[in-house]
Symmetry: C2
Subunit: 515 residues, 2 copies
Amino acid sequence: MTTDLCGLNFFGHQWQGKEAGFARFNPQTNEQLPERFAEADASDVNAAALAAEQAFWAYQQTSDTQRAALLNAIANELEQDAELIVPMAMLESGLPEARIRGELGRTTGQLRLFAAVLTEPYDTFLMDEANPGRTPLPKPELKLGQLPLGVVAVFGASNFPLAFSTAGGDTASALAAGCAVIVKGHPAHPGTSERVTRAIARAIDATGMPKGLFSLLQGASPALSTALVEHPLVKAVGFTGSLKVGRILADRCALRPEPIPFYGELGSVNPQLLLPGKLAADATSLAEAQVNSMMMGHGQFCTSPGLIITVKGAGLDTYLAALVDNLTAQSANAMLSQGICHAYNSAVETMLSEVDILAQGQAAQAAHQSRPLLAKISAAKLMAKPELLDEIFGPFALVAICESHAELQALVAALPGQLTASVHGQEDEVAAFADIIQRLSFKVGRIIFNQMPTGVEVARAMNHGGPYPASTDSRSTSVGTEAMKRFVRPICYQNMPDSLLPEALKSTSTRLKRF
Amino acid sequence: MTTDLCGLNFFGHQWQGKEAGFARFNPQTNEQLPERFAEADASDVNAAALAAEQAFWAYQQTSDTQRAALLNAIANELEQDAELIVPMAMLESGLPEARIRGELGRTTGQLRLFAAVLTEPYDTFLMDEANPGRTPLPKPELKLGQLPLGVVAVFGASNFPLAFSTAGGDTASALAAGCAVIVKGHPAHPGTSERVTRAIARAIDATGMPKGLFSLLQGASPALSTALVEHPLVKAVGFTGSLKVGRILADRCALRPEPIPFYGELGSVNPQLLLPGKLAADATSLAEAQVNSMMMGHGQFCTSPGLIITVKGAGLDTYLAALVDNLTAQSANAMLSQGICHAYNSAVETMLSEVDILAQGQAAQAAHQSRPLLAKISAAKLMAKPELLDEIFGPFALVAICESHAELQALVAALPGQLTASVHGQEDEVAAFADIIQRLSFKVGRIIFNQMPTGVEVARAMNHGGPYPASTDSRSTSVGTEAMKRFVRPICYQNMPDSLLPEALKSTSTRLKRF
């Protein structure tokens, strides 16, 4: 049972709010769950932003060690509440226990990785030494540092109720960067957001961090999202979600009196380029890997491989037959929400007027379930209908068949921006495709050789983003330690005495790597 | 004489264009100069963009050493043409010879600095090693690289006809990053732009770089600017100019079907915070430094100190009297253009309805000259009229007088974003103002101790930018070697064989620093 839920919003370090408002559904049964949650409004946004800004001025003065302690404390508190959080996330997302437990591990690991980075030795910063004797003008001393941006708004994602939501990567990277955070919880999993927030609040208490540093605003209305991104005290936004909503919010951020960065990770079709030699050699295992990858989370991963690019030749028929074998055995399943399921079914229906069905999974048992589908199309037809390259969020993939090397080249050049692409090839054939592979790299945030795109490693060298429309800002990543950089900006300190410099830039700093 | 000018536009490595269109003025005499220049239109933009994109695909494959050779060749060709370029820039800008010669040196130095950075050893890149035995999932190898964005549009600035124009910092950093460049020349100095372009074109020939890599489009119409930033093949924009125009173009970039980064460096009032001890000790020299700095380029520097923040106390009267002495001796002078002069006079007139005149320079001898001016206001009144914090581009500065430490704190907190601020203080008094100084740092891109803000060093640790409205993207600098980062974006290479990796990431790379 879930009677511990208060259904309120959390800001100024208190649970506050009005009468219960929106409800959410059990995706597996499509039944409304009993609790209701207060819908935050513009006055709640304002109160949260004021409290967050006040907390920010204190928080930005904390040391890296103190911030690391906070992140580790959040990870510990999440683990302590695992038996509260995991069942709630399963209930609200419909995702299986192993997946949710894995995602909790990913979430705590992510927090601890940022904490580790904060306490490592620094790289040597950029510095120019003074030269008072230079003519015609003396040269000043310059040191390049960085400052956190301020209050960051984070939008929780439906498909990762833990790792990309309340205490997910955006929150962890913003806190690590020295920013205060206001999470707009995804309305599909408000109970999970509330339980995760309780863990974060305890971590703030335990580490003596300023109250107001973290807020959770619940709500299902677009007005709440708009009020949040347009609040003058909000200085950056992290978002994971659809192109449609992401673009609306990105435009709002750009048109504010003071424009702010909007980091929207929006998804893509993640092309899989099957080179002829590899296809001839490994058709069956490629097909199995493709279906396994596209069925992860019932196709609801932003790196789900939704487009397979092939060239006519040896192995193609075997590959297609193996795709059919593998996909036909897959079950229909509930999706994360009724809205997502409806969007999937509707997008597939539109798609089927243009493409040929290759294989279908088992039929849906209820209207809120979606059926896996593979389709095929000629590259020529696909290039003539570029809207068929739009992502269909769910267990769908399209096989595009090129007649020639030249057509392959043209299709790759015509692709819109992608989070990832994979090249499946034999080592001895890649040279012949080097130009195409290089061109493909300009379309993606991550390019992969002989591996599937699902499974985004939380690591230092990860880049999860990509050219628009995969993300709204290809210069940044939403996963991995580089994600911190989204929430800081450079500042040059000219001729500043040590006493006025941040710890990292003082000549007495002990954390610099000295090479 | 200037008869070598063709008055056309340069794209596809040829001078092309229609009948002569717009004219420009000699700012010193306010007389129209004889030549006319073809106004580029949307079809020229399209042709330039197509040629630039084609060149980009070749150029991005060049090595860092080849790019460095191009940048050095441009610097050499500019020096070779110094006796053509310098007189033309003087004629079109009205700036004195020493200043223009200095600016040419800054421009060639900037190109060579980027070349030097390109051929230095790399820092070790970010990498995660594979762990095939990890459970539950193997860990892939990840290497983090970067890719140039594509074709970059650069808008030349009126106030630096060389260092921030055709072959200026934006062009140098975009070429260093591996991008193709289309410059929209400032219509006040088209002859200078043409002569600089001839030098660039020879450097492209001499180093065998792809034709189309660099274009110059001349024009005075907003339609040209709009067509350029909205062209689908343009992937980023560098701009130095006014808030008004910068914001219009920034919004256009944000609302494109594919939004692109717009790096607008827009200027600010660059507050000078005079701490009481320093004011008491050094009133006279502070006043002299202030007037010298604000009169550089007749106040037409984006880092011109336009706001002086003081607290009532010892030294203030002496300081104000010394300001009067110093400013009264300053001459009126022509500005960079009639439009800028008109805007200055009009802004000063509006300002004078709210502030008290402190001192005026010598009276203007003609309608196209502007007269230096210092004014004063109470901090309370200034905070009540925040529009008085808007930049007035020209030889104007406002002295704000605070009654107390608390009022100083409030005024600093109320400041909009700035390129720079200086703190003038004694070492033994800064501790008492540490909170205010830290708050000031959050308003600026560069914070300076006991030096004036004019003179932006081209260096590794420089940051020339700042929170809006000083710039449109506080995460970047338009001066210094970090400026290259504006025109690249990250890419993760997962499990890629050496043969498919860029030179810098190969396991055989010889240019990595090995610590």
